[in-house]
Symmetry: C2
Subunit: 218 residues, 2 copies
């Protein structure tokens, strides 16, 4: 891509994301994006074949923002509780400008056949970027997470993050404070739960849980 | 309501639900429902102000079907594992005819502002009916569920059922066998997990989990 066309692509993406934040997903059409960006509709479609492609762009930008915020917050966080709270709170920070558009968006993304479903093939890059943030949070934690859980934990925590995101979309409290309280309350429970893994009765249930979760995902 | 108008109402509802099953939610219009039922469009609207009202009717009928199936299956189930499996499997049985329409439907219902959202005020009757099925499953179980959990357990299990339903919508395996395996694998883990509640370390985490879950829901 030439410098000029990369600039046009970023211009279109920037305008689209701003319109998503300001007037919402449903009302933002490709035509309106092109007009606002001062390019032809054909030119806008040249860079993004559909609004779905712009949603993928949105995912990637939110993930990049989340990664940058998390990297900074994780500098001061040592134990898993602190690292996980930092990771989840910075995720909420990165999504915050899009909250108004959350309901619209989730109605589009939840459909199993949607190309912007977070589990869909088209979302692989954004999903991997998001997973990598959780991997970093777990891998450098001191004390380390229980060994038998370490490889599955980032993905399980990412699924918790998807659940938190769903809760956040429904959260109409001021500044989504209710979701913040959920994170602050749930993370210590998760890490305390992990510390029980060494108890024999708990360990056996965990083994069976992990093998079930692997068999269901495969 | 007169006998005649109750008959018309049931005719319209029956036609709508059959069309939902056969051609899906998106393609079924009030106009098409009226034509198929042989009533005027105005008459159809007299009984159901919108397609959303027909979805509420669908919820209620699925819940009634689930309750009848569960009551029969619970006759032979004594322990919580058996009772919970029976409750979840009969729930899947009751929803099965609508699987094709699951994706469409969830895209409508997930929107926080949707009147057919399972957490919305308009869904209270169906939600209470569904919750009651889980309450029956828990209350008559022998041995009984741990005392400190008994009052919260039906609602927590109902939330698990919502998660299973989401998994089921995504499940494209033959006859949704993958969801059946999830139920068969997850239920014993849940009930084994409950038996750990009497261990001190686990009990304290559970207490904190319950108070968090109550504070978040209130």
């Amino acid at each position: 891509m030439t410098v000029k066309s990369e600039q046009t692509r970023q211009l279109v993406a920037g305008v689209a994301l701003r319109m998503f934040r300001e007037i919402g997903f449903a009302k933002t059409t490709m035509r309106a994006i092109a007009a606002e960006a001062g390019v032809s509709v054909g030119n806008a479609y040249y860079y993004f074949a559909s609004k779905d492609d712009l949603v993928q762009e949105l995912y990637l930008q939110v993930q990049a923002d989340h990664a940058a915020r998390a990297a900074e917050a994780l500098e001061d966080a040592v134990d898993l509780t602190g690292r996980l709270k930092a990771t989840l709170h910075t995720g909420l920070d990165a999504m915050a400008p899009y909250h108004r558009f959350g309901g619209d968006f989730i109605a589009t993304a939840i459909r199993p056949t949607s190309p912007v479903n977070p589990f869909a093939a088209g979302s692989t890059a954004a999903r991997e970027a998001s997973l990598a943030i959780f991997r970093t949070a777990v891998e450098a934690a001191k004390p380390p997470a229980p060994k038998k859980l370490r490889s599955d934990l980032p993905e399980l925590l990412w699924l918790c993050y998807m659940a938190v995101t769903l809760f956040w979309v429904y959260d109409t409290s001021e500044g989504q404070q209710r979701t913040r309280r959920l994170v602050d309350g749930a993370v210590p429970l998760i890490t305390r739960g992990l510390s029980l893994v060494r108890m024999p009765g708990v360990g056996r249930i965990l083994d069976d849980f992990l093998s079930l979760s692997r068999s269901i995902r495969s």
